[in-house]
Symmetry: C2
Subunit: 408 residues, 2 copies
């Protein structure tokens, strides 16, 4: 049987051979280089370049086991990712990498090489600003979710898509890592910064009012099949360069609450905000950076609403959903979910098993203690007060209120 | 090819031949009688009896077209019905007919003959009372929905079931006939009792506050995949005899709001209530019957809540859903949906294309005008005030309030 007719876990040299045999742009080339560039837990990312022509692609290769624990994982996520990337690119052409090929046997997704872009999280760590971010990300969310609503699509077609993109394994990860373990340490794998152990115990583990609100949000994540969402829209899933934004990695996609995507971006911008307070010296540079982060959060919310309000009436097909007041009610629900999700993301990335460099890279211990408490307290407020999120100011003013309370 | 190896629309004599060839209890028997006993639009119901032994079964046979308009209809509903009846019987053993066989080729569902029971709607038309009704129906709803929640089942298993019982075609019927057309006459097929045309125009077609609330309820029906529900639990789907209740016809089953089932039963009991006022002479007999209907509505709601509160803690597996206050929040949502659904059912069965004998059989024109207006106004109140449905009294007190206002 030819080498690539049955799935196996590829190495860099296998990837070169694969490109030479299977990918039109590299057929027969003898000057291919390959580098594994990913650091994820469940996939292998190879960058293939033809050293003569300069042509390059990225291959995302899914294994049947996780790298860390060897736990088996359904490679169907790779099929979902390929299909969703194509759909997203249709809906939001400039904001998603191009897909050249998908090989369901080798579980290889061959796509545009984004080496000229950088991961947003890394850029935020370096306190760089991206003026297009709010415009592009709000555009991505509205453009990719709006066409999948059942008041836009035919409801039967939407139900088909719900079935097709049911994503039980990756939803299960979110349900445990975002909606459960950070509040209960149920799996015993929370990674709390040791000086904050008592703080986390009191503020998170022993707060049943918070648990109740998290449980309600969890209900929505599990039952509200609102739209086809990205499902993992953190700052590691967004690639940027000064005039371009690309959203990648939709393997968590499923039909869930739109606010989950919006809130994830907001939560990750809040990490950037906290990181700046913890690591930058006070002064104009910090003020400018923080002003950009705050403006971006507000613009993201304002532009999201503006675009949704503008585009919805043009595409809605459901007669009842065209009633005055429906769209405002619908958006209010999305904002509530977004505030809740921002809070959940902030808490789980601080105490849960999957952490973020925005916090873990803070070298000064006092500064890290402070930043993590700030993030946790703001996250709690977002969850508990999410019904107040009608104005775009809510997030930024809550952040500043928590900050001023902690400084006293 | 043998006769029953390819689907065709069976007649009574085909059904006899089918029983003789395919059903163990009737193999080779020469004394079979068959009568088509159904009057539905999309299926053929045959009762087969062996005149010697007295053994009898019912065959529910699905055609690929509706009887009335010849519109094509997916026979997959028959597979869903067979599977759901088996599931429901596992969850609520005494309350669902036994399934003997399911033939996916001929789309034949062979089940227990319930000829010793009668259709609840017919019995209510005759103003007969059934003391077990609230007990049995509350038991049916709790027993069949509770085990399918994703805080009870493993969430991945639940997602599998959501896919398996996605029911786009029959949901589409409900979305149009319950949630849209009665308020818009969008399909032009509303059947309004002529003297009430102006009333319906004003109270339903031109009321945008009502449209908005209906649109919100429609959103929940389409997106809230709470539990595996029956989906069509009106008084024509319930068979009764004095000491037994059986729920049939779950072909509309899918993962939707539990309150949809509870509210449907409530709405249909409200028809019985209105029918009694319109057709019975005032006096003790009427008072007794109305008291029974009112008590049944209240008991149904009380018992539903009581059983849910008692049984949920014993089966819940989700840690967050075990938080204090969660179950109360969850039940509040169900009651809201139930009140809304009761109102929707009352309105759509009065003005929509699928009407009920409880109203259409009222011979006196004045009495019918009155009863239909009463039902419409109470239905509107249920929809608009559904957030007040915390106490079981809400339905009955609203009915009486609307009644007293109309009498002034």
């Amino acid at each position: 049987m030819p080498k690539f007719d049955k799935h196996f876990r590829m190495t860099e040299s296998d990837a070169i051979e694969y490109a030479r045999n299977r990918l039109p742009g590299f057929k027969g080339s003898n000057d291919l280089s390959c580098k594994e560039i990913g650091d994820g837990n469940i996939n292998y990312i190879f960058r293939i370049e033809d050293l003569i022509t300069g042509h390059s692609v990225v291959i995302k290769h899914a294994d049947e086991r996780t790298r860390s624990s060897g736990r088996p994982l359904d490679t169907d996520r790779n099929r979902i990712e390929a299909e969703i990337l194509r759909l997203e690119r249709e809906y939001a052409p400039g904001l998603v990498p191009e897909i050249y090929d998908y090989d369901p046997v080798m579980r290889c997704l061959v796509m545009e090489d984004l080496s000229d872009h950088r991961i947003l999280r890394q850029e935020l760590l370096a306190h760089r600003t991206f003026p297009r971010l709010a415009e592009d990300v709000s555009d991505f969310i509205v453009s990719t979710t709006l066409p999948t609503l059942d008041v836009v699509l035919h409801p039967s077609r939407k139900k088909e898509l719900v079935q097709r993109y049911s994503n039980p394994q990756l939803c299960d990860i979110t349900e445990r890592l975002v909606y459960t373990n950070p509040y209960t340490n149920a799996a015993g794998d929370n990674k709390v910064f040791p000086p904050n152990l008592e703080f986390v115990k009191k503020e998170l583990y022993e707060n049943s009012e918070l648990h109740l609100e998290v449980a309600k949000l969890k209900y929505g994540f599990m039952n509200n099949s609102q739209a086809l969402i990205h499902g993992d829209l953190h700052s590691g899933s967004i690639f940027v360069k000064p005039n371009s934004t690309k959203v990648i990695d939709p393997e968590f996609a499923f039909f869930g609450p739109i606010g989950y995507d919006l809130g994830n971006v907001i939560g990750n911008l809040c990490f950037a905000w906290a990181n700046a307070f913890a690591t930058m010296e006070s002064g104009q540079e910090r003020d400018c950076y923080i002003a950009w982060v705050e403006t971006t959060i507000r613009d993201l919310v304002d532009l999201f609403q503006k675009k949704f309000l503008e585009r919805f009436p043009a595409v809605v097909t459901d007669r009842m959903a065209s009633t005055d007041g429906y769209l405002e009610w619908f958006l209010t629900g999305i904002l509530e979910d977004a505030a809740g999700t921002a809070g959940l993301e902030m808490i789980r990335r601080t105490v849960g098993v999957a952490q973020v460099k925005d916090l873990t890279s803070i070298e000064d211990s006092e500064a890290r203690i402070f930043a993590e408490r700030l993030v946790i307290m703001a996250g709690k407020s977002f969850i508990l007060l999410r019904k107040d999120f009608r104005k775009s100011l809510f997030i930024v003013s809550t952040l500043n209120e928590v900050l001023s309370q902690m400084r006293i």
